[in-house]
């Protein structure tokens, strides 16, 4: 899946929505930023420093955390232990002991409303729980920016609202969010800015109301030629 020509800037404190039809290259873009894939050309800069091509673990420690589209908790760890991985390894400075890591992890769980399930096996969580676990894991790494990949997919309206609340709380804490989403209503209410991708290119970028009314954007989703 190619991302051909995208230029995207994100400023601190924003919640940027990245939308577009399937196959537009949104997840690929995330993977390139997170260091999972290498770009063949172009640059990724974080706080003015180039990070393109850096290994995923380095990118995480630099402050860019990401979640997966397909939630995969560590199957044989508890909920708390899952988050401890993020705390132990993705966080700078490193927690100096398992107890310190546990505290950070627990705090992240509390923030995400999962502290009651801390000791449970991670694979026992419902989908909504797993999604929040993904977020907690990312938060435990002490990120500056979090890339959330379809974190609302598969959630019912109540769960969706709870997650939206969570995301607002995250931004209130000073963490910037970039979110790939298909739920346009949620995105409209949540994001300060929306960028639209289609077929590997960015086709719109601006405030939600304008972008969602843009004829090209509508066409990209519906597949008809613009008026």
């Amino acid at each position: 899946m190619a991302v051909a020509d995208v230029s995207l800037q994100v400023f601190a404190g924003e919640i940027v929505g990245l939308i577009g039809p399937n196959g537009a290259g949104k997840s690929t873009l995330f993977k390139v930023i997170a260091g999972i894939d290498r770009p063949t050309s172009g640059a990724v800069e974080f706080n003015g420093n180039p990070i393109a091509g850096k290994r995923a673990d380095r990118v995480c420690r630099l402050g860019v955390a990401s979640t997966h589209q397909l939630v995969r908790p560590f199957p044989y760890m508890s909920v708390l232990e899952n988050v401890m991985v993020g705390a132990f390894f993705g966080r700078v400075p490193r927690p100096h002991s398992p107890r310190a890591a546990r505290e950070i992890a627990f705090e992240a769980l509390q923030f995400c409303g999962l502290e009651g399930r801390a000791g449970d096996a991670a694979r026992m969580l419902t989908l909504a729980g797993r999604k929040r676990l993904e977020i907690a894991r990312a938060l435990a790494t002490g990120p500056v920016v979090v890339l959330l990949d379809e974190v609302l997919a598969g959630l019912n309206p109540t769960e969706t609202d709870r997650t939206l609340e969570l995301m607002r709380a995250i931004v209130a804490r000073g963490v910037t969010i970039v979110i790939v989403e298909h739920n346009l209503r949620a995105v409209r209410g949540l994001c300060s800015r929306i960028a639209v991708m289609a077929q590997g290119r960015k086709i719109a970028d601006g405030d939600p109301a304008t972008v969602l009314a843009d004829a090209n954007v509508i066409a990209a989703y519906l597949g008809t030629a613009p008026q």
Partner: protein, 291 residues
């Protein structure tokens, strides 16, 4: 002309390597497991041929006619009883299972046939085609011919028959195949059976060229793996390419180093390839997830 001899010989061996490796590729492609018992089945194929020859005077050249169907059935039986249960688990589990199977096969062979080296000598073994300085053993030509025939037959089966197409769809996307109504369980069994049958055939052909003992298949498994890394698991063409590359490297390497080191070549090649192409060849080394 010595070079030409070597070249032709290498290509002939490549055909054999391809036959061995195709079984590995087929089983991985459909069931997504690595058949570590590759070596064991090759070895049993060789022993079966030898045994039929020594016990009943059965012509080793005709052995494949018996071995292929028998091994096919054995493969299906194995799949039904053991493989099915581990197919959906972590790859380590199937790896260890097949490793265990290999151990069992190897040591049953030791017990039945002892560790003595066996070989098959028939008039064909020593017959050569000679023109000027070119020397080509007929046995190798035979092996190449049968091997290539088998591979062509497999390829036709995979592309022209419904069952073959079912196999290919599962290899591409198991869930999608299931949705279209393909009986994945049944096809898995058949694919595995075919893979084992190919190994039996490979072993039988090998017995015509080399002497063997129960430890036989191990180096060959390594070579198959090397071939698959070089050429990619995705297609017959990939396996053919890898086989030729390896056979050539070995044949020409033989001229410069002692025979006992020959097997090192495949390993060295493997390491070189891994270092030179860190991103890997095809999807083999890194599984990329998602879109």
């Amino acid at each position: 002309m010595d070079t030409l001899s070597t070249l032709i010989s290498a290509i002939l061996v490549a055909g054999l390597y391809a036959t061995m490796s195709y079984g590995l590729a087929l089983i991985y492609g459909v069931l997504k497991i690595v058949n570590l018992a590759n070596a064991g089945f090759l070895m049993i194929g060789a022993y079966a041929t030898w045994w039929m020859w020594t016990a009943f005077g059965f012509n080793p050249l005709l052995a494949p006619l018996v071995i292929v169907p028998v091994f096919f059935l054995i493969g299906i039986a194995m799949e039904r009883t053991m493989i099915q249960r581990v197919v959906d688990q972590e790859p380590i589990i199937s790896l260890l299972l097949l490793f265990g199977v290999w151990l069992v096969l190897q040591n049953v062979a030791y017990l039945l046939f002892t560790g003595d080296t066996r070989s098959i000598t028939i008039p064909l073994t020593d017959a050569v085609y000679q023109r000027g300085d070119i020397v080509i053993p007929w046995a190798r030509v035979y092996v190449f011919a049968v091997g290539t025939l088998a591979l062509v037959a497999m390829q036709l089966f995979l592309t022209r028959t419904q069952l073959g197409r079912a196999i290919r769809s599962i290899a591409q996307d198991r869930d999608a195949a299931r949705l279209v109504g393909i009986d994945v369980k049944r096809v898995n069994a058949i694919a595995f059976g075919l893979g084992i049958a190919l190994l039996g055939l490979g072993g039988s052909l090998l017995s015509l060229l080399y002497s063997f003992d129960p430890d036989f298949g191990r180096t060959l498994t390594l070579k198959s793996f090397c071939i698959v890394v070089l050429g990619g698991l995705e297609s017959f063409v990939g396996v053919a390419f890898g086989s030729i590359a390896l056979a050539l490297a070995e044949a020409f390497g033989l001229r410069y180093m002692p025979a006992s080191l020959q097997n090192l070549i495949s390993f060295v090649l493997l390491v070189v390839v891994l270092i030179a192409f860190p991103k890997g060849i095809a999807g083999l080394l890194r599984r990329r997830s998602g879109v």
